[in-house]
């Protein structure tokens, strides 16, 4: 079978999706009214005029969590292939222990973050 076939089919679904969206947008454009007023075009802040930047209320926490995520997400890169082939004959305790060591490192990282209070929201 062709290497690309599976993905071609997937692409087909995407195409269908695109079609759907376009149709929807087209229909909407045809049907909906267009009466813009300055008030409408204001961003919504509970009725009062918006003040300041949108970034006003963001904190550094989000960065920290994203850092953590990046580290933990990539472990999947190694975890999934390992998990897939692990059951196959030939892989004994050694690979198991090695993967445990790997997870152990991640766990150490998590513990450190935990103890440092990074995981405490607020």
């Amino acid at each position: 079978m062709d290497y690309f076939h599976g993905y071609a089919v997937v692409g087909l679904v995407a195409v269908v999706g695109v079609l759907f969206v376009t149709v929807a947008f087209a229909a909407g454009r045809l049907l909906r009214p267009e009466v813009p007023t300055p008030e409408k075009l204001l961003t919504y802040e509970c009725g009062v005029d918006p003040v300041g930047e949108g970034w006003a209320h963001t904190q550094i926490r989000y960065y920290v969590y994203s850092y953590l995520y990046v580290i933990f997400a990539v472990d999947a890169i190694f975890l999934f292939p390992w998990a897939t082939v692990f059951a196959a004959p030939g892989f004994g305790g050694a690979t198991l222990v090695e993967m445990f060591v790997f997870l152990g490192f991640l766990a150490v990282g998590l513990l450190y973050a935990w103890k440092k209070g990074v995981l405490e929201w607020t």
């Binding site: 960065y63 850092y67 990046v70 580290i71 990539v74 890169i77 190694f78």
Partner: protein
């Protein structure tokens, strides 16, 4: 589908990234350009691995992703810290040590 095309794309991306590093002034953007370069490398790796029919390239791509991730964490941490202390991420403002 000729794999060489992917190589051309990789080279192009890499060049764009390098150019960006050299001409952009915002540390974050520069850093994104670096990431672009790394991903260009990944593309090249995977393509080559397909051309040679062994998996080394793909595995290396994995490792590259991990390294890139670690780099992102460290780099963003540093950049954010300097941004907080001087409210600017422009590499031109970092000039305390020009003599």
């Amino acid at each position: 589908m000729n794999p060489a095309n992917y190589l051309y794309l990789a080279a192009l991306l890499f060049t764009i990234g390098a150019a960006g590093v050299l001409i952009r002034r915002n540390a974050i953007v520069v850093f994104m350009c670096v990431e672009l370069m790394l991903n260009a490398c990944n593309l090249a790796f995977v393509t080559f691995s397909r051309m040679h029919g062994n998996l080394d390239g793909q595995v290396i791509a994995f490792f590259t992703m991990v390294v890139a991730a670690a780099e992102v964490v460290v780099g963003l941490a540093i950049i954010v810290s300097i941004f907080r202390s001087r409210h600017s991420a422009s590499v031109d403002d970092a000039n305390l040590m020009k003599l």
